[in-house]
Symmetry: D2
Subunit: 350 residues, 4 copies
């Protein structure tokens, strides 16, 4: 197996930490560049104490320079804020380096929707058609041929995988979807802020950004694609007093309220029977975030409620691995000609 | 202020602990009896180490005996399982002792509904008409005259208070309500069980009893009363990796999707303007369970989403205080002729 | 009971929040002033959402001005950083206002020790003799007559109360003491910082400031007083993944390694038998921070280990209530001529 | 690399879960047998939902039978209670199967000490001489030749690795050692019990088994070996409100109180410079359990306190991986002729 040399721009957040963690176990990808203006000059292991004595620890943190990147990297992961990523991506592509971008900058096909939800201009609109939305289960082939992959948001990953089978089998009214999503606190990022201090998150529960969370248009775009019609839905986010994990409870209405629960279950199983990472739980079982912690699985339960004519889908992923860095590696694997699962065979840390 | 002598049957659960805690600060209620077959003979303070050197610590735990209760208690709190409570309540009433029952045994007016959801017979059907559902904000007058109060479930308390104003002002379609509720782990009780061990609840999130949680009929009964029509809804419960607190996110559809958010907000404020314990948060603020921890408040936010025509109500309470023992004391206050807030003036432990 | 009007300078930290919480339940103290440069102009309830609809919520936050304070306050609590407090205290005293200072500025009798451990000059050395170290169990009489009380550190409170009986009964070698202390994360304060983010504290454990934690000289000063000789000891702090509570494990050597455990236990019980808030646990029981959460108790266990000739003392308090704001109120009670326990009768929130 | 076929007896505890997790990533070990009387007949993946779609999920749980084991396993891991393990080990050895035993049954060379601390008889005393104490850093060669390895306790692993360099370089008085150890709640096991329920462990901190924790003799035995004299010490355990991790703070007295901190540090670095898993942190850094979570590292800080003449050693490991199942695999690797690190190259889940 040939080795793919990769770089990471943006090391101070949780996605960067998680990427470094996962690359340690990757047999065909080598971290050769780590960029951060603030930390330049340090060894990566100094900044990530967990990484000492492991591959990548000795990489010297540098300031981002696309020409350097082009010399030493086949592919670069951008873990920088929306708005910053787009320009970096354009530069890297110009220099012939492939890009997996963690930000929202290339997730929405429609620049106007982007500008409406993100409140700044899109300066690289010409790349939007080329960028591929990076869910391997849906777009593996296009990802494999892409120079630029937009790594999906964590919430959207859990929701899209959760609802996919219901759309494909035309089980639900797609104009009446409510998503109640809950995320571990790593989802709030690693910036110093009073509201994400331990004592402000521990032992409490809250909602945020209701009713206009920025992941909404991305979810609507993909569900629209699956449903074959323009879908508007209600997406609502909450923060959990724990580090990792996203749990989405998806409320839908059955097209046929008298459908047998077994038929629904069978449809879900059929959609995912060959999937490596989507696990449809046995009927009667419900997912838990701990069973997917640190891994690539998306655990899905589907519950038919004949009393109310609803279909309730419950979906759990790890927000940092499946919802960010692990999915980024899966995408990079495909872009580098590697099997999608390379380096991602670990068990969840239950 | 004359003192009301009270007893507690069922000391081993969290509701009993919380009741003992709250009675310490009550100026007009004295714990004179604490019953538990398993712990009989011990001092209450031995079993509740937090209570030592405080009022109630020296009560000797005894086996439940209605005649004894009648001799020394004006009122008894029953914190025993559904099914067990009904018989005890009947005996106490026979002996002239008032009862606040924490279980579901007297919450549902309809015995058949009870038997359907709780899977055992109701042996005291004749008391169902007399029992008052104990939400002081809704039924203060009837509670004051009652011999038997059915203390509401924790989830129902948060949901009913949350949705009440929307029903009263006829803002929503009551046939299309979805409730996504999340509870701290004290809600799962204090029985030894692997699934509620620290390591099975910490750092994880899960749903349970979907789609048939036993609190559903109680919520439907009360919302039906508020709406003036028979309401069926979807109630869904999740367990949070924290001790206390319930957070209900209530998804409804607006009758008038173009209604001004300000009008909705004003309607909520009007309903609760004289309420001691229901706090409608400023527009733009969302509740957090920590701000109601250990107290009687119900914090409510109301969010109008013109994009989807939905009204989202977020409601937070402390499940043990407002959702159980504090509400029980409020009910007992009314039953004993005391101001409803007596002994309940503490601030939340934020 | 006459009402004591009090002010609070420094509202943004946890000690300020806790003080506001406790004053709600205080029958003879009224919060009339709350100062913060950053938040001036807001109502206190806006900044402390838990406080809405409770006493104190409507106080308007103002900029600190000693003359104003003198007009409306009998006593002011200073919850500002060491170095800032000393000047404010001097001004308030000049204007005839009593002061309880939460900082370390007046805890050490020796200015040179202060300057050595706190790395800045002491500008109010003349007040050091007058200031009383505010542990009511040790100095009630002097506190009652004081204009200026230095509210003790949280760790020192747990250690001094824990070790007091052993010194008084001359049970241990005071030249060989090791303290391993663990604190909830509120002890790290409420400043925005990456290292105290939820995801950096949750699910992990660490030590800090070893071997030179600033509470060391304060502990040595007081133990020296109890022992009647100059004591140097090893004090070591750790941070717990929880909000509240301090647990100190104190390792000492018995003067008489063959002493009967019962004798030691009896000595401890004798020292504290009339104490309202110090609870010596039954032999065989060990303290837990939850049993003192939110209250004034100090729970102490004393374990004699004949195998190693050691006496191990375990002491648990709530760092915010007993270790800061509750103790401040106890001190203020004494300074205002009120019974020490006024407003502090609540049960711990177990 | 030839594959080693392994069995696991005792699947219901956390060590069993962790072993199954680690074997997924092991390139040369295959789980072919999983035993549990209570769960026999189920697939392992049914009982461990995190394992579905991963290697080992389809193993059918069976009742332990040494003959079966002999047919299909090269080596068996025993994750059963002390007292039960010794007989099983003897049977397996008779049938020619190598054993790594997680219990204490073969850790102490002296049967009398075992019986004194574990309160039951040792029925396989003849195996005590043969059993090797399984810390690869100390006994790699003997482990490689062993039929029976006693996998060390979690606390002892952290303490022995922490203190080893100090003994080897003769830096401390070995007759005056105090260990204050703190463990995540997985250390308390997975039995249903009220005292380990989420609500009894969360948000609180406590000590237990003081002053006679069963890991004491094991620590004393190994430190005695390192020190070359019989050592008695004070070992004290506490439970942390988190799942994984052990943190030991080790208090010792320097033989030479005026020794330069740099000399001490250099001595520690020298001892561990070629170690794969022991990381001596840079001076000024202190360990955190999260940086070793889920991995094999032991992070050590050494702090010289000239003020008190003490040497304080802080040591952090993951109790389930390094302190149990990961170390078991390292031992099994050696016993099977594999490089010690095989399958253990993962990064900690920080």
């Amino acid at each position: 197996m040939k080795t793919c040399r990769v770089g990471l721009v943006g090391i101070t957040g949780y996605a960067g930490m998680e990427l470094a963690r996962l690359l340690v176990a990757h047999p065909a990808m080598q971290l050769v560049m780590a960029c951060s203006r603030a930390k330049a000059g340090k060894r990566l292991g100094e900044f990530y104490p967990f990484l000492e004595k492991l591959p990548g620890a000795d990489v010297e943190i540098s300031v981002f320079a696309p020409r350097n990147a082009a010399e030493i990297c086949d592919l670069v992961f951008l873990a920088v804020p929306a708005g910053t990523a787009m320009g970096m991506a354009a530069l890297l592509l110009e220099h012939g380096v492939k890009v997996v971008d963690f930000s929202a900058d290339f997730r929405l096909h429609n620049a106007q929707t982007y500008e409406e939800w993100y409140s700044h201009n899109h300066t690289e609109k010409n790349l939007l058609d080329e960028a591929v939305y990076g869910i391997p289960e849906l777009y593996a082939e296009r990802i494999a041929g892409a120079r630029l992959v937009a790594n999906p948001g964590c919430y959207p990953t859990s929701v899209i995988l959760g609802i996919c089978a219901a759309c494909r089998h035309d089980l639900i009214h797609t104009d009446d979807i409510v998503i109640d999503a809950k995320s571990g606190a790593t989802g709030a990022g690693r910036k110093a802020a009073v509201q994400t201090l331990f004592c402000e998150v521990s032992d409490t529960f809250r909602a945020y950004s209701i009713p206009r969370h920025r992941h909404t248009p991305e979810i609507e775009q993909e569900i629209s694609g699956l449903a074959g019609r323009k879908v508007q839905l209600s997406f609502n986010a909450h923060i959990l007093p724990m580090n990792r994990g996203i749990f989405s409870t998806i409320y839908t209405k059955l097209k046929n309220p008298r459908i047998q629960p077994d038929s629904v279950y069978t449809a879900f199983c059929r959609t995912w029977k060959d999937s490596r990472w989507v696990r449809v739980l046995p009927q009667g079982s419900l997912p838990e975030t701990r069973y997917v912690r640190g891994g690539m699985f998306c655990d899905i339960a589907v519950v038919t409620d004949p009393r109310t004519g609803r279909l309730i889908i419950l979906s759990a992923i790890d927000n940092l691995c499946r919802g960010a860095s692990g999915q980024a590696i899966a995408n990079a694997n495909l872009m580098c000609g590697l099997p999608v699962e390379t380096g991602l065979g670990m068990a969840p840390l239950a």
